[in-house]
Symmetry: D3
Subunit: 183 residues, 6 copies
């Protein structure tokens, strides 16, 4: 139906969108003609793990890619279903046909492989630093973080006062090694 | 936040996407820098009123616009909430900020106006013919319909055997004036 | 638990609240110490059958009863569950304990009776006129309707431009005998 | 995984279970080692189209089959998802693996075929009479109906006063040719 | 619409209703003509964090206020939506119009402020003791707790055997400083 | 309605089905004519706590009982409602009538007792070992586990590569006493 075109699929929450995400999209763009970027957990916002709305994440993503990339990237927000047994069908119903899934998550890889898709690992891109969890911690703790995200994302997050958003969502400033950050 | 840029918003179900829809998007593109096209009822498919999945409608839309238009159009599928009291907030959470809503629906206009948005009527574009309901009727009744949709949409619908889809969804062939087509 | 006090329960959608509703509440107040008035379909609004929000219906109801009545009436909005098998439990979880259900609906009577409640028919109060469907028809058709609702409700509905709300929701003016009003 | 065993799948609402349903199950049992009978719309009850609960339908079905059949039949209630794009995955998550789907519905056949299942038409069994819609009409209209359902179903329906259930659900007695029975 | 009347809004879960809650309501009543008290998480019950049904919480609240207060208080249960992006619209659809929100939660304050409401902090009222979490711990651990709630609430909770309810919900007796109470 | 027949009810998640579960079913079969086995959390799968689909759990259960037992056991998957106030009604709508509930959970016993059912404790069956949590830990940690489940379940779990399923779901190998196993 799409001729010889190859479409890749990437799923992420992008809370917030950072340089590691951008690197993965660019890696996929080198291997595919077009790349679908699914903004997962689209309906979540204002929580510690998902502080930004789907619309805000769309905006961050859009402002970080070049016009050439934009012509080959399809950004599509998809809400969670919380039922892995129907998850692949759920994604399929939201996006145009695709061929290859780029993911390092065992569950994502397993579910799409079982549904007949080609699955591709992506190169790690210093995941200790380019981690959305770490970036949220740094923002709320007033540590240096703007170098970890594309320039337009830094400006966007400052424009909406991301630190206050994270505080409102219940986060509190903490040191990196100060115990159990994640959850 | 977006400088002097103006963003428009259009909401439709695009079952299927036709030349009337395309004309509205182009009208909005003349008045705005960017246009968000919300694919409504995103999770509906395989029914008489909503035969095509959100992914299929995305594909139809994408294949109908020029590369120049693609650089200024944001296609975003949004599921129904069936609660008009939260509908505007629901849309807002899914899409980047926008300024003007293009719609001829009284309810849509009223809800967005009440939420502080500028609301714009669009020119009618021969709504008798360029109507998705009419096109679905023609497809299932084996009447001429391909001239009513952009070329790539015609090829796409033939490729997925749209007529069979409509039959599967419970439609049956009928004459135009043969009674109660809609609903 | 509540001593010798008797509590009645009335369920309605109150779209809008009219003098027939008020008469039923007053009939129940004569037989009970307190009356719980459940605003059903609480999350519906802006549709032909349910044009007004739960908050608006609460306001109409509250403004129509006297201070003495207010001291004995509990107004509680409850959303639909659309599963009759759990409906009584759903209501029970939302409201304080009650003894008697006032209703003329066979289904309501049957479900509560089966759950062990006393069930009471209410006197009809000219249901041809004091019908919310008829009042909505009159409002949208610019016929006389204010005499059918309590004074504060008439003022409230005019204040929010109820006619425009009904038009926005898709209603159109029609004669009383002009065919199939209801849906 | 199941050796050479062949499992069939039948989906129905069984409102109520009648001799036509039983004939289809027996036809499938002749072709398969085991038959999964999915009770669809499991969470619906007390409405005109779905008067009986899933538990009641399970009971009707169970009481109508022989011990030998029971050893080869798996009755599994499944709620609706109202999203055809995930419907097959939804069913798959609820039932053990199966090979062949028995159905005369175009949509059911199309969705399962697309998912790679073998699909089989069943013989029609005088569908004018052995129709659940017609049986509900007869029950509420006090016409002869017990010969259309298995004996235990007739006794069960009389035991729960099915006629009153249908009246409570809003049905009213009507002649067979008296117009638009179905909805 | 409501003339010069000022309405306040308070949101709480009231698990159970205690003297700290009552103090906040009274503080709001001094500043407003009427106060809407939203019973949040209305559909939750029988869990560690939300042991009591919405109806039970309504009853506790109602029995704790004076007749004069009842004439100026509107108690309205509202279920969670778990989507902060639509939360204010959700509340607005359930309650009559209001002007001022009384809350000490950063997120609540931020969301309502962004929607244009006046937001007011309330005085703390010894939050160490007048804490619903602490009261639940005391009830289940058989420590003194009745002095922390209004008299009618103490009687109500004893009447429904609140301690057994908490045990059923999975709580176990524990000392105050005995580690990780919450979550 | 069912004559002198006594039906028992057992609710479990069966993640996976083990010899302890089988012992409880057999204990109930000694006391009742028929036993309904509800597969709870039916729609959950691919998570640490609920790795297997409802269909897989149905298959495990079915393959573990004898033909004689199958003639007296009704296996019925039921999704969670996450609202304890309607939970008993929810179960009742899914299953045929029953008399006695077999459970050691305080909450389950309390909710069914309050709804008028007889409630029965079951004998513990070495719960330290015959625990689904422990079996999942052993599977993922490559420790001996097949002796804890019926033979057909062991073969089934090996056939679907249960260890990989658990790893995909996010579990990691761990020693029994190695800290906080449960969640």
């Amino acid at each position: 139906m799409r001729g010889a075109q190859v479409r890749g699929l990437i799923v992420g929450r992008f809370q917030p969108f950072h340089k590691g995400h951008l690197a993965v999209i660019r890696e996929a763009l080198r291997k595919c003609d077009e790349v679908i970027v699914v903004i997962g957990s689209a309906e979540e916002s204002h929580t510690e793990k998902n502080p930004f709305t789907s619309g805000e994440r769309y905006q961050m993503l859009l402002s970080s890619i070049t016009p050439e990339e934009r012509a080959r990237v399809l950004i599509i927000p998809v809400r969670d279903v919380n039922r892995y047994s129907v998850w692949v069908s759920h994604i399929e119903s939201y996006v145009p046909p695709f061929d290859t899934v780029f993911s390092n998550s065992d569950l994502t890889r397993s579910l799409f492989k079982q549904a007949g898709y080609e699955v591709c690992r992506t190169k790690a891109y210093n995941p200790k630093e380019y981690s959305a969890t770490e970036i949220r911690r740094r923002i709320v703790s007033d540590e240096k973080w703007t170098h970890l995200v594309p320039g337009p994302v830094a400006r966007f997050l400052e424009g909406i006062d991301a630190r206050q958003r994270l505080l409102d969502a219940g986060m509190s400033p903490q040191k990196k090694k100060g115990g159990c950050v994640a959850r």
